[in-house]
Symmetry: C2
């Protein structure tokens, strides 16, 4: 596979899986103190990732789980639920993301502790967090592993989730499974990127937790890292405006999830079958990429991980291969002051 | 002004304002029964409009106000708050919007009543609603007037909002004020449309309640009615991916609101000043269009109404004038079965 370093991948996965002890330690501490809600705070890619985690984890608990954008949480919004009865969780690998640092400082000024993930103890974020958990990962799938593991450990400690041991056992096999999935998807990623990398505009449709994943790829990979013009849209909204842009030459990517929202994805798929009968519709069906280890119990989490392996990881690398535009190159983001 | 019929406009406004008696009657009935939350249900444009109303109205009450997409509410999501203690409100002028009808039927099957707005008693929606309120409006500003009036009447009846009489008195002057605003903005709308109507891709940025309005224009007007390719994005997200698309020839429209989110809009404005010094940035500042009658107390509602008058109404008509593409023409939406 182009631009894939198996050794680095395996080390990345091993580091993520080995974080469990520290995650459990932090979860025990905060679960024993007690809290009445969880608030995820992120910005850009981390806001989106926590959004997908929220959609799925909320189904496993009656505890309210909220999502706040770090750039918005610092505004004078008097958010009633941002209080000492909430467990506030954030993340930034680099640990220097401006909005996340400001959000944590905003909370601290109000006497609120924040915990979260960052690369190591030297990052600016680490020194602001009440407790930090190492996150050294370069692979999106492993960010999600860490996030789900923390939330499920917390819920398990509170006696609200009985599947935590099964989750931890199951994810041990994800490095191998997601490597095999990469290899099997890669030829398709190659075909997709070869065909569409010069398209002046593409539509990306998803729903539920998978909308967050779809949006992550459209904004953080295609827009930010490839300068490819996209229109991310939910499957529900697609039918109320965006559909009128469908015409020959416009690629439409539909990410089909495995949750209750799937009928909405299917409706888009059916619409494209009938009315976009060119070869410019790409159905990315996460139902076709189940992970045996995660089984039915964790099929929604599996859909997220499979999307990371196939679309976020392999499709982005194949785009890079055809556009010649390095995924690492930016003109504005973190290059200029703003 | 091109494509503007003052007589029709005045009739539309008069009809909306005259609805107050019926709104109060419905509000009294449901407030006296009691409820513990409000759930707005819409799809496409109505989902977006209710979203903006929610953002603003939520600041006036501790009562939880929730927003649900009609296409998503019918999925097997076991929404705990969709119960008899919630007041469920929807709207569809045509009264035959497929997703809204399905959502109301879904609620009815669960023994839940829904109230809302529709054109008249002959629509399919009217026969499904426990109580319906006439909405005959062709002007987005008047949809918002009706929605805010219902919510504020409900909150007032519950003793949670003391400004209802002031609201009702103030909105009497909005037809004249918003007509004058149209006339003063129209030359700029003409210039904007003339300059950008052939742009192959435009970015539309907003935040808070005004993001919903921005999205309404980008999706329901530019995409659906003009087949213009847009990328709507929040001011927070703009800086985490979409900004990399900014280059010469890409129009960036920034809708600046008047609420707590304004610093985020200002940050985009400042970014464009420094790094997009072409003449392709358009700042649409709602702070420049205050409505004297609504004053400071209702300045956030005024921003929504002013956006309707200037951007949604005049800018769309000016786009139509230059593109020659009728705002009424669709190739798929409500033309085909899907």
């Amino acid at each position: 596979m182009v631009s894939f370093n198996e050794k680095g991948y395996r080390e990345d996965c091993a580091a993520a899986l080995s974080t469990r002890a520290r995650i459990d330690e932090v979860a025990r501490k905060y679960a024993s103190r007690g809290f009445e809600s969880i608030v995820f705070v992120g910005v850009g890619g981390t806001w989106i990732e926590w959004g997908a985690v929220r959609e799925i984890a909320q189904k496993r608990t009656a505890l309210p789980i909220r999502l706040e954008n770090a750039a918005e949480v610092v505004l004078e919004r008097n958010l009633s639920y941002l209080n000492k009865r909430a467990l506030i969780i954030t993340s930034s690998v680099s640990g220097d993301t401006k909005e996340v640092l400001a959000a944590v400082e905003f909370c601290r000024k109000r006497g609120l502790e924040v915990i979260g993930f960052t690369h190591d103890e030297t990052t600016p974020l680490a020194s602001l967090l009440a407790d930090w958990i190492p996150m050294t990962t370069d692979y999106c799938q492993n960010n999600f592993l860490l996030y789900f593991t923390l939330v499920y450990s917390l819920l398990s400690q509170r006696g609200e989730f009985s599947g935590y041991e099964r989750w931890c056992a199951a994810i041990e096999k994800t490095p191998d499974e997601l490597l095999a999935l990469r290899a099997s998807f890669d030829p398709r990623a190659d075909r997709i990127a070869r065909k569409y990398h010069k398209a002046p505009y593409s539509i990306w449709v998803g729903s539920g937790a998978m909308y967050y994943c779809t949006y992550l790829f459209a904004m953080c990979l295609l827009e930010e890292m490839q300068w490819v013009r996209t229109r991310p849209v939910t499957a529900a909204d697609f039918f109320h405006g965006n559909l009128e842009l469908v015409e020959d030459g416009v690629p439409v990517f539909v990410v089909k999830g495995v949750d209750e929202f799937r009928p909405l994805d299917q409706r888009v798929d059916d619409f494209l079958d009938r009315y976009h009968p060119t070869d410019s519709a790409e159905i990315l069906d996460m139902g076709a990429f189940p992970l045996a280890s995660l089984g039915d119990e964790f099929r929604e989490e599996a859909a997220v991980l499979s999307f990371c392996a196939t679309v976020i990881d392999r499709l982005s690398r194949q785009y890079e291969h055809y556009t010649g535009h390095s995924l690492a190159f930016r003109r504005y983001y973190r290059q200029l002051d703003y």
